[in-house]
């Protein structure tokens, strides 16, 4: 059955493929002004220094602005376009991440680390194209829509106490930006499946086939991203063009096929990087491209550090070879072996900060098919040790203090040894300054004292005004909004280490506000440290500029180097959750004690006073009883007589009683009447 079906399926695919190609050609001829919807898929593989492999999937779908599309799309996911139309999203990024990007080992300077490494959990930011006062409403609706779309609890970002509106520290600075994170959101396949559904071929064909759930969730780091930009719709009636970038970054450890773990003990083989292939890390192979994709490419990137190291090794080995190394024959080095011949080799252009430039091996997936799948593999022959280029300062964040009353957050920036090289250009200048932007959101129950901000440079306390050039805070409002802090630091270039500390008090919550596992603690979202002076961009000059790869053009974007700090876990004091009734009753008892005993003291009379009052009462009765008795006498038609003491008292008591009863009855009747 399956044997029969498969050729049919392939035939069908082929037919649709041809049809589509014809159609695209036809379309482009027919309406030259209007571009078509496009889909590109790319995969970038990169060996990392710590015996792991980075795989970065990048899928780009774009829908050009058009009137004809209307509500219909050929390739572009309808759900996303509806989202954009409905909430007028200008730009949006949603990321689901599990694990933490290791900035020290995996690098912090290249575009992948700086714009694809995300904080754990969910991060969402969006820029809206609506008037200022509608932004919050749009945000709330968007969170609900996304939470439905991705099966995640993004709707928790709806409450004002979870999101903030950074003014200038977050890169796409705009007044209509909203930013929120959910550090504790667990990410799993239920989030990946809807994400894959947005792809035209899902995970049935093309590169997405590699996304085998058990293997990608086994990795050290897993981050799926969805980034969309809508190019503003000029006139009414035309839908805005949308570019949707879906990226999935995983850091995986290759499984050694023949039990090399045992041989790891050998000193000689210790430094040999593990060899891997697509089938060994994903358990799948690429069996052709997604027919709907315009281009489908696999890249293998060798890091700048790695290339430099390889060059050095090569020079040592072949000192006799006088001629310089050109990139063309580079892949045939004896230090490693590729299982497939690359179609093209691209060398990075003018890497400003480093001596060497990284190298891309390009593989066209079109050439591979079901019968001969692409199983790209890398086999190391000699041990190589290299370091990834890291950000100018390595940032980390930690909590200080003990106990559940107060504490302090410290952000420490340590210079990385690699910085020396690329700071050389500036270092000759005495007034050289390193600009660092810090963006930090703290939930309201961490009550930050902004006045306690302290700056230490090389362990020496410095005046805050000397270091912080610009600061903007929006203090937290209890149960309403989180605290937000944006700072621009100017550090001297030669700084070895810098630290910021800020004190906080831990808030006390109402018992309903504690999450189910309250004693686990509360998360403070990651701070964002960015270095606006440094741009994480790589320029790859491709000969065929016609089919420019979206991934490589993404790499060329000039974005500042950014890194996320750790998520902090703050334990908060908990009240006794089982106590509400006891507390209510005990407190009310104390209040009753106060009220009752004080009133009792005030109205208590000792025996002498009682007698005195009684005397007084017998002498002259109050006005009201007198009037009442007169009235009753008149009603009875009897002449009124001044009351005698013994019988009159009983009479008055009864009349008082009657009066009270009437009063209560009247109250009850009026109450009944009023409420009915």
């Amino acid at each position: 059955m399956t044997l029969l079906q498969r050729p049919v399926l392939v035939l069908l695919l082929l037919v649709t493929h041809h049809l589509l190609q014809c159609w695209i050609a036809f379309g482009s001829v027919d309406e030259e002004g209007q571009k078509q919807e496009e889909f590109n898929e790319e995969l970038l593989l990169k060996p990392l220094p710590d015996r792991t492999v980075l795989a970065h999937f990048h899928f780009q779908s774009s829908a050009p602005p058009s009137t004809s599309n209307g509500r219909h799309h050929h390739l572009f996911p309808k759900a996303i376009s509806q989202l954009v139309q409905k909430f007028r999203v200008k730009e949006m990024e949603l990321s689901f991440t599990q694990g933490r990007w290791n900035y020290e080992r995996w690098g912090g300077f290249d575009p992948i680390a700086s714009s694809n490494a995300k904080p754990p959990g969910v991060e969402l930011w969006a820029v809206f194209d609506v008037p200022q006062h509608q932004v919050d409403a749009s945000w709330k609706n968007l969170t609900h829509a996304l939470s439905g779309l991705f099966c995640a609890s993004i709707n928790f970002l709806e409450s004002t106490s979870t999101y903030s509106a950074p003014e200038w520290s977050f890169p796409p600075s705009s007044g209509n930006l909203r930013y929120g994170t959910l550090p504790r959101e667990a990410v799993c396949t239920e989030n990946l499946t809807p994400w894959l559904k947005l792809l035209p071929c899902r995970d049935k064909a093309g590169l997405a086939v590699l996304l085998d759930r058990p293997s990608i969730y086994r990795g050290f780091y897993h981050s799926q991203r969805l980034h969309l930009t809508s190019t503003g719709s000029g006139s009414k009636g035309t839908d805005s063009g949308i570019i949707l970038n879906q990226a999935l970054t995983v850091v995986l450890q290759p499984i050694q096929p023949n039990g090399q773990r045992a041989s790891m003990d050998h000193a000689s083989e210790k430094h040999i990087q593990p060899s891997w292939s697509l089938s060994s890390i994903f358990g799948k192979q690429v069996r052709g491209r997604c027919v709907l994709a315009k281009s489908s490419k696999v890249y293998l990137q060798l890091d700048r550090g790695l290339v430099a190291e390889l060059k050095r090794i090569h020079k040592e080995n072949e000192k006799s070879v006088a001629n310089g190394l050109t990139s063309e024959n580079f892949w045939s080095y004896p230090s490693f072996e590729l299982s497939a011949n690359p179609d093209r080799i691209v060398v990075e252009e003018n890497s400003l900060h480093s001596k060497s430039s990284s190298i891309l091996y390009n593989f066209q997936v079109e050439k591979y098919s079901e019968s001969e799948p692409l199983d790209l593999g890398l086999t190391w022959k000699i041990p190589v040790v290299w370091l990834c280029q890291s950000a100018p300062l390595h940032s980390s964040r930690y909590l200080m203090g003990s106990g559940n009353e107060r504490g302090a957050i410290a952000i420490s920036l340590k210079s990385t040894q690699l910085r020396e090289g690329f700071m050389g250009a500036f270092a000759d200048n005495e007034r050289c300054e390193l600009r660092v932007d810090v963006f930090q959101v703290v939930p309201w129950y961490v009550k930050v004292y902004f006045h306690s901000l302290q700056v230490f440079i090389d362990q020496q306390p410095k005046a805050v005004s000397d270091v912080i050039e610009k600061i903007h805070v929006s203090p937290s409002k209890d149960k309403v909004s989180p605290g937000m802090m944006e700072m621009v630091l100017k550090l001297p270039c030669r700084v070895k280490s810098a630290a910021l500390t800020i004190e906080f008090d831990k808030g006390f919550l109402h018992i309903d506000e504690y999450p189910p596992d309250a004693n686990q603690g509360f998360d403070i979202p990651s701070a964002i440290i960015s270095f606006p002076n440094f741009h994480a961009s790589m320029f790859f000059l491709e000969d065929g500029s016609v089919n420019k790869s979206p991934l490589l053009s993404k790499f060329q974007e000039k974005s500042p180097v950014m890194s996320y700090t750790e998520v902090l876990l703050v334990p908060l004091t908990t009240p006794d959750f089982s106590m509400p009734y006891n507390v209510i009753t005990i407190t009310c008892t104390v209040f009753a004690l106060y009220f009752g005993s004080l009133l009792n003291v005030l109205r208590r009379r000792i025996a002498e006073e009682e007698r005195f009052l009684k005397d007084k009462a017998t002498k002259k009765t109050g006005q009201l009883p007198l009037l009442l008795s007169k009235l009753s006498a008149k009603l009875r038609g009897r002449p009124w007589e001044p009351p005698h003491s013994p019988p009159s008292s009983s009479f008055f008591i009864s009349s008082k009683l009657v009066f009270k009863v009437i009063l209560v009855a009247g109250l009850a009747v009026s109450w009944q009447y009023y409420f009915s």
């Binding site: 106990g403 004292y449 929006s474 937290s476 209890d478 808030g507 004091t573 507390v583 106060y594 009220f595």
Partner: protein, 466 residues
Amino acid sequence: MQKMGKQKNKTASFSFWNWVIASIIFRLILIYFPKNLNLASRPEVSTPLTSFRRLAEGYWLKQLSMSPYAGSMYHGSPLLLSLLGPLTVKRIEGQPNHLLYSLVSVIADVVSAILIRATGKNLRLAYLRSLESLDIVQQTKASGEFFKILSPGDAAALIYLWNPFTIVACVGLSTSPIENMAVILCLYGACSRLVPLAAFGWVIATHLSLYPAILIIPVIFLLGCGPDAPPRKLFLQKNNKEEVLSKSKLRLGFSWRPITHFAFWALLWSAYVLVLCGISLKQFGGLWEMFKSTYGFILTVEDLSPNIGVLWYFFAEVFDFFRNFFLIVFHVNILFMIMPLAIRLHHRPCFLAFVYIAIFSMLKSYPSVGDSALYLGLLGWFVNELADIQFSFFLFCGYVGVSLLSPVMHTLWIWRGTGNANFYFATAMVYACLQIILVVEGVSAMLNHDRKLRNLATSKPQDAKS
């Protein structure tokens, strides 16, 4: 004989000043301890309203040209911010960080003590005069020897100065010494018939912490019919019996003139304060913002951090549905007692003020030991009247025990993590009960004292006859 008395007085006052200076030195020593012995962040000392760190935060925000009420850190008055704010950042080299600010609190404490002393002297004179007019000086002399030696003013001032609660509040940099000073200023002004001063104190105290607003009742009584005296009925009875007693000696009527004065001055001062606040908050949302985050914050009990009161835990635990109901109930509890107490104790306005202060420092949303320090100090005014208060030893031990146990329970719960919130809440509960007993027993002792005076006054002629 008179010379001897004067001499005695002189030595007494001399030793009084010695004690005052000793208390100042004691405070300074504590201030020079590193980090203020961490008193500034103790929950007993600094509530969200009186915390020094919050004041500094408000000032910092204001310096950054943001509203000090942005965020929910600062809930005090904007005037306090302008006056004390600069002191939170000013530092003198080689001296403790907040020396200037601490000096202000020490001065506030000393001024309060001096005012308490002056008021106490006033009260003593009034007391003696009333005894004289009732002709029962001889009888009381036999029983009340204590106040011959130590006048109530000195006693109250020294209790106030040497009360550990006052010292802790002063060294802990809370703003309660200043709030207390405003309250005392108000009472002093009313006792010595300085109407503008009384109005000023009342307006400032109300502005700073809202609850002293109810002190308007004792102040009106003070201005209307003078300081504490035995019930007026007694004089009337006496006067009926002996017409000879000149009426000029005691003003028995209720005079409305000073009260209209007071109303006028109170209006003037409050307008002045509001204008000042308005100016200082002009660019930050104005007065409405201020009322919302000072009075609104007090009335809605938004901050649930632990303090020595009982409301924080109650509102942390109570179901949201009932929150508003209980807010109303608890605040009305303070108001409910105003009328009965005013009716029963209208002849003793200072004592009435003391009872009111004790009640609201017990039931207020964010009580601190600074509030307790105030009423404990004022308790000294009534050493003669409250000489035979019941359970005084028990109360004393209770206060000592709670003030030792409460920090222990707090440490167990917050720092060690071995206790739980109920431990601390239990000490808060006990503390509230102690205060209730103190108030109840104080009121009952005062009423008993009045009864005793009446007995003395009425029984004496009969004795003479028989």
